[in-house]
Each structure stands twice: as C-alpha cells, then as structure tokens.
Symmetry: C2
Subunit: 506 residues, 2 copies
C-alpha cells in the first residue's frame, strides 16, 4: 500500500486542520452531509458511538433520580415569546412550520396548504414547552423537586455547518428540573456539570475545564451558565456541555408555582442542562491522528476487529473456526456496561482491510494467519501505537488481558490529551504576550496560535468585547476553584479577582 509510507488522511493536521477533520470523518464512515441544508446523516459507525455515550449518561442521570420523559417537537410561537431573552437568542435560527398539508398548486406540483393559525417552531430547546408542563404538574412543595430528562432531536438553523460540531439538526439530551430553593437548583446545576465532566474525562478521554460563562456567553434566559470546555488539537476551545441555573426566569414565564410548607405561593427555581452529538466532534478532534479516528475503548463503536488471513482456500474453515472461537470468548466479557464488541472482517482485499479499520479508529486490530493459528497465537495492532508496531500474543493471554489492554489505550489517550492541553495552556499577564499568543505566526495558516491563556479579567463586558474584536478570542469560562489570586485585567489593567480562560473557540 502506497499509503503505508505516508499517512492515511490527506491533508494532515499540520497541513490543513479543518479539511483534515472532514476527511477523517469521511474515511471513518461515521457521518455524511445530507441533501437537507445543514442536516447530517449519522451512519452506523458514528451512531454506535452516540448510543454508547447516551447509555453512560442515561445511567448516571438515573442514579441521581432523574427520569426520562418526552415533550412535543413543536413549540407554539407564543410560548417561545414568553421569555424575552430566550426568544431573542433563538429567533434567528428557527425552523418554522406554517402549514399542515400539501395540495396541488397552479403548476400541478404540490404546495403548502392548510395554514396554521399560530406558527409552530421546531424546538431549538424545550424550556418553554416543558415549563408549561411543569406548571401543571407542580402545585405543592411536596411535588418538588421534579427531575426530568428528554432524549431528542433539536433544530437550530445554521448557515455554516460542520459535521457533528454545528448542524441544523442535532441529537441531544436536555435535562429540566424544578426546585423549591435557589440553593437546591444551583446544587443540581453543578451536580449535572460534574456528570458531564466525568463522562468526558473517564469515558471520552477528553480532559475538560469546568467553570462559569461570562454574561455575554450565557444561555438566553439563564441566570448563570456553567460549562465544560475542552482543547482541540488546533488549540481551539470547544464547549462540550452546559448546565444552566435558570433562576426564576422560566418559572415566571411559565407560571411554575407551588405552595410552600408555610402555605405561601412561591415560584419554583429551575435548571436545564444538555450535551449533544457535538461530543462526537469533540472526541474526533481530540484523539484522531493523520491516519484517522482513534476511538476511546469505553465508548468505542466496537473494540476489536478480527481479520482472518486466508491464503489457501483449503485453510478457510480451520481459520474461520479459530477466529470464531476467539470472537465467542471475547463477546462474553463485560467491559464498562456492555460486552466486548467484536467485528470479524474476512474480506480478501489485501492491506486495504487493515487500513480501513485504522481509519475507523477501532482500538484493537487482530490478524489471524495460518502461522498464528499453528502457534495458538494472534497478531495485535493497537490504534494508539504506530500502525506498523504490532505484537504477537498467545491467544489465551490476549483474551484474558484484553480488558487491561483496552484500559491501557483508554488511559494513554486521556494522558496524551491532558499533556497537550497542559502544554498549550499558559498563564499570561502582559497584554503584548497575550496578543502575540493569539496571533498566527504564519498568515497562510490562521488557525495556528498559542492555545488557552489564563489571564486576569476585570469583569467588564467592554474589555471582553475589545479582546473579541481584536483577536477573535473569547472568555471560555471563569474556572471553578484554583487560580484565585488577584491581579490586573489583561485588557484595561483594572483590578481582577481571578484568572479566566481565554481562547479561540468553535
């Protein structure tokens, strides 16, 4: 294979990161653009990832007492308008349903008919429609807390889209809770952010920074937005999940009221929190290399591919039996909430077979030839190593050790991503250094810059805006804990209580 000397993906990350991303997805067969503007088709290899991520999240949600429910896809325009900041935030990206049937038009083709008296918005998020339900469900303090999650599709009309990262329709979960006190709602906001941190770091192997958004970056209608932020390999930040404390804003908008123990009518305090198929984009951008996707084992679409090498047709049955025997044993092993997922690829297409699986990012590739069988062995390639770096294992040792091997890969991926993030995150106290950090050295490659700057900010929206206008750099979050020493704002030199995370962002 000509590819073996070079890399499987062209261009490389160094050559053109945005194009590399598109090519990696194409080569992995995870998703593709659809004929519907901005909407993607998630193919089986990509969807399996989402199934695995969803299952992990769902289990954790349920452990905290959250229950799943389902609310309408459509939101009446008047509902969206109930919360001023909220509708303002979403008005520019709404898919609007205006008719409920089709009929023959003048030219013989079908045209929309049956106009609706009130337009319906395809949900961009569900605070207002779920708020309406909560207002009926909740009457007494005894009804609280209400802890609900919904797995759903949402639509936010986007002009510039990118598979998984920004699409007009995406899949997500949205949690919505109502509480008797602000403190309890804030605690829930943080609790769910912690679930997101845990899933990102322990399952997706993506290290994240947790913190709070500045006022300009918070969710439309929220009091405070907390988030997890990750660093991609182009050193840009990606917001991977958000958890909002909504105060009583939506309770006022939807009249979510309860009678307290003291028989006083009070408004409830609500939260919402969500992660989406964007996590798959984050995973790809964090771990993949110039040979394609690298899947963290704990959420991988499959763990092991067995590739029998059938050179002489008369050996076929023996090799296939040997292969099947290994598959059967592996499939009985439990690994992080499901059994080891095994693919068997017996196609006779030469080296292309091996490279297909490398590009798909499967953690372990196992070649099984006549010699391996004769010595009761298998020949194993790890996706976190160089493609040529393979090792022979005794069959039993491989099967018995496969879970450790997968965990080793998982930990390697996490450590590598953590090292990368730490290397490119710098405390930055001088404005000239700050500007240089974010200014591309090479004008032909405007995406290359320093990474995350930990700098002081006075809290003034004007300084935030100046920096954004000058460098296209934003405050990704005001991190929780640590870095609490006081200092001077990187922009205006005014007093600052703590450092915040500045970065270019997706």
């Amino acid at each position: 294979m000509a590819k073996e000397a070079a890399t499987a993906i062209e261009p490389t990350r160094e050559e053109n990161y945005p194009e590399w991303y598109q090519e990696v997805i194409k080569a992995s067969d995870m998703a593709e653009n659809s004929p519907v503007r901005g909407c993607m088709v998630i193919k089986p290899w990509g969807y399996a990832l989402w199934e695995n991520i969803s299952r992990v999240l769902d289990d954790m949600f349920k452990q905290t007492g959250v229950k799943n429910a389902y609310f309408p896809l459509f939101i009446p325009l008047s509902f969206l308008e109930k919360e001023a900041a909220h509708v303002e935030g979403f008005a520019k990206e709404c898919a609007v349903v205006t008719h409920h049937r089709l009929e023959k038009g003048g030219n013989g083709g079908l045209v929309p008919a049956g106009p609706l008296t009130e337009p319906l918005i395809v949900r961009p998020t569900s605070e207002t429609i779920i708020g309406d339900a909560f207002s009926k469900w909740i009457t007494s303090y005894r009804d609280l807390p209400v802890l609900i999650n919904q797995w759903a599709n949402v639509v936010r009309w986007e002009m510039r889209t990118r598979l998984f990262l920004r699409t007009s329709e995406f899949l997500w979960q949205e949690g919505h809770t109502a509480h008797a006190t602000a403190a309890e709602a804030i605690e829930r906001t943080r609790m769910m952010l912690e679930v997101y941190r845990k899933v990102s770091e322990d399952y997706l192997a993506i290290p994240v920074i947790t913190g709070e958004k500045s006022a300009s970056e918070k969710f439309p209608g929220a009091e405070t937005t907390t988030c997890i932020e990750a660093m991609m390999q182009d050193r840009k930040a990606l917001q991977a999940g958000t958890s909002h404390f909504l105060g009583q804003n939506f309770a006022h908008a939807s009249q979510i009221k309860y009678q307290s123990e003291k028989e006083i009518e009070e408004y409830a305090w609500t939260t919402s929190w969500g992660v989406s198929t964007r996590l798959i984009g984050a995973l790809i951008m964090t771990h993949s290399d110039d040979n394609g996707v690298i899947l963290p084992p704990r959420v991988a679409s499959a763990h092991v591919v067995l590739m029998p090498i059938i050179r002489k047709e008369q050996n076929r049955d023996a090799i296939m039996d040997y292969t099947q025997g290994i598959a059967d044993r592996l499939r009985k092993l439990a690994y992080y909430g499901r059994n080891i997922q095994v693919e068997i690829d017996s196609r006779d297409i030469g080296g292309a077979r091996n490279w297909e699986w490398i590009k798909k990012g499967i953690p372990l590739r196992v070649e099984i030839g006549p010699k391996d069988m004769a010595s009761d062995s298998v020949f194993v390639g790890r996706r976190d190593k160089d493609p040529r770096d393979k090792a022979a294992f005794r069959k039993d040792a491989f099967v018995d050790g496969v879970k450790d091997l997968l965990d080793e890969i998982q930990n390697n991926l996490y450590q590598k991503a953590l090292d990368f993030k730490n290397t490119h995150t710098r405390p930055m106290d001088e404005k000239t250094d700050f500007d240089a950090f974010f200014t591309p050295k090479n004008t032909e490659r405007p995406e290359i810059h320093g990474g995350f700057a930990l700098s002081h900010w006075c809290g003034n929206a004007g300084c935030e805006k100046n920096i954004k206008d000058r460098l296209n750099v934003t405050i990704r979050c005001i991190p929780f804990g640590g870095g609490n020493e006081a200092g001077r704002c990187i922009e205006c030199n005014g007093p600052s209580a703590k450092r915040v995370v500045f970065a270019k962002a997706y």
Copy 2:
C-alpha cells in the same frame, strides 16, 4: 376509601370504553395532552414503558444484523414527490416548514421570515430520504444487503387524536433494508414481522394475528404490507406493527442501483418496517381493567412497589431498614434484560397510596408493617388479581420467588387476552350472520359488536368497499397459514381461496 367498593376508574369499560381509556391513562400518569394540537407529553411512567419496549426490539434487531443510524428530520418536498403513491398517501397530513427564522412584524410581534426556496416536510416516514442515502452507499452487489434502523419521532398531522393510539407526533422505529433479490427482501419483511409478533406476544402479552393487507390497506408505495393485528377489549382491531415489501418502487424513485456479480446494473429491492408508541395504547387497551392499567412484567415501568406502613414514628427507622434491605436484594435480580425495578413509597396517605399503584398497574404491591417485620414477612398484592386478594409471604420466599411470580402474572395476562380474542373471533359464512355480528345491539353503545369475523372474500376491492360502507368493517389482514379451505365470498358469493379477518378497527 370509597373507591374500594366500586372501581377506581369511572366510567367502566362497560359504561363507556373510549372514555374509560382516557381515564385509565390519566389515572396512571403515563401521558397527557399538550398545548400543541395533537401532540402528547409522555410522562415518566409511560416513557419507561417505551424505553423497555425499545430495548427489547433493539436487541432483537441487532441479532438479525441490523445497525442503527440517523437521518434528517426534514424531507425536501421534491423527495416526497419521487414516489407517486407515497406522496399521495401522506400529502393530507404533512407539517410543512416554510421559513427559517423569526423577525419583528408590523404589530411588534414575531412573524416567520427567511422563506425557504423549497418547503421541507417534517418526516411522516423516511423511505425517500433514506433511499437517497442508500443510492450513494450502494454501488456493487458486495454492498448488499444494507440493514438499517432508525429510532425517531415522526409527524402525521391528525385532526382527531387519542393518546398513544393516534397523535400528530409519535415515537417509533423505522427499519429500512436493501437487497439484491426480491426473495431476500421478502424474507426480511417476514423476519421483522416475526420479531414484532414475538415482542407483542412474549413481552407485551398481546396475542396477534399475522397476515398481509389487502391492496386498499397497504402502505403508500409498498408492493405488499404485512402486519400484526390485535383485538382490544372493545373487540375492535388495532394494527400494532407493519412490515412492508417495497419491491423496486423506492429503488426506482431514489435510483438505488447496484452492479451485479455478472456486472449488470440492477435496481435493489427494499423493505421498511415499523412499530411505534401506539404499542403502548395497544398494551393499555388489552390488559387494563376498571381499576386502571395492568402492566405486563417483562416491559413494566417498574416491577415492585414496597410500601412501608409507619404507624408509630419510633418504628420508622426499623421499618425503613427492613424495606431497604428487601429493595437491595430485589434490585440485584436480573429479569428479562434488566434488573428488577423497585419503587419505595413511604408516604403516609392512607389507602390512596395502594390505589395509586393499582391505577399505575405495577405488577406487585408489597405492604410492610410492624407485624410483617416481626414475622420476617411481607404482604403481597398482585395486579392481575382482585385488589383485596393479598397474601403473606416469608420475606426470603418472596425474594427468591419474585421472578416466578412475575412470570406467572405475565402468563396470566397473555392467556386472558388470548382467551378473549379466541372467544370473540368467529368463522362466519352467512351474510346475514356477518351483518348481525357487526351491528350493535344497543344503539346507545355503538362500539359493542361481535369482534373478528373469519370470512371468505373473493379478492374484489368492490366487495371490500361495500362492506366498509355498510358496516364500517374492513379487512384487517389475509392471515398467514391455516384456514386455507376454499369457499364463497361473504359479500358477493363469488369463489374465494381463503378466509380473511374482518373487523372494525382503530
């Protein structure tokens, strides 16, 4: 409780079956109508049922080689128009997206803006958008079969809706497959219908008849539609799932072509098959009684509720510990793909507590009072028995036997539904008997009639239409196997090869 003497649900099935259905759902807290016309809110107790049904189906699909994927919510109008019968079938019930943002209108309120060049239809089903993807994925016979399933929401605008049975938006799965030969596609159609039969009978405890639809009842665009049909307690039929052999109709419409082994370009043969949240309606209508829902244990939202009886506050800790100990043991037991799901209800609200759980249909209610604890026992009510009919169990015997108890309930429900269906299914050879069978005896209760008639039909659409016009009775299916003796058409007395199932239907 005044209710204990009468029934918990008013009206009863006998008094008013359609209203009884609405009341049963309300009392069970499974779903409610939403402010969006025809769309429902599925509440946690109802959604859990859907999660369990989905998991069972998903496992079975995957065992047959099917993989999940996800396709756009929106279908361009031109796609829908590619298959003439298909668009004709769905045109009257399409939610149409015509704009992609909102802006301030003349009166200050928001109005739709950003008109789309081509209207988008919110998917009523996805043959055409998935067909487009298939046309890109498939080029050679080596790419076949393609076996895809999607879990999704769909919208079919309905004027008259009923929770779960007929809603403008519903949740479903839609399988779509492409094959090299007609025979293989037909085999797949039957294979998936068999999955539906198995899930209905073995998990939902709903006996079904499998068969083929007549031409007038088939899916718009299908060659043949096969189905499972169940009998509700008002003796009407409910179509609970369909599996379609689409021939090459959609392959022609979407240009799904492949090069055969002989290097000839051929059109693929496709299938589609689906079940929806309608199954929950079928389950409720099949098993519930005048005290509310009865959930079949294998898909029940939860299996056991433990109700500690705390009379003296000083006993609280001891009783709660005893209860928690039982819950911990039960929750470790595996039962049909998940662990036993236990609810603990320690509210002190008198008999209302017991009745709430009866109305919710939980299979086992367990009361735990000081006397039970003293004798290391529990007091158990089964939902398939009279509410007053409870039995004491030694605690260990209860825990050790709980799975058998649940299976006994499961089998009882199935047997009862099967007996009901058999009792009200009659071979019918005389037109006068046939008409009498379907004519209500009491004009005040037009829903009461005979049930399913197994009668001969000549195959003529005219006879089918006459019967429908006269009696509102349709051919539910031409059943597979059995009843193959020839006879005379119940309508025209013409020759008929076999009996078909006639019924009134949902």
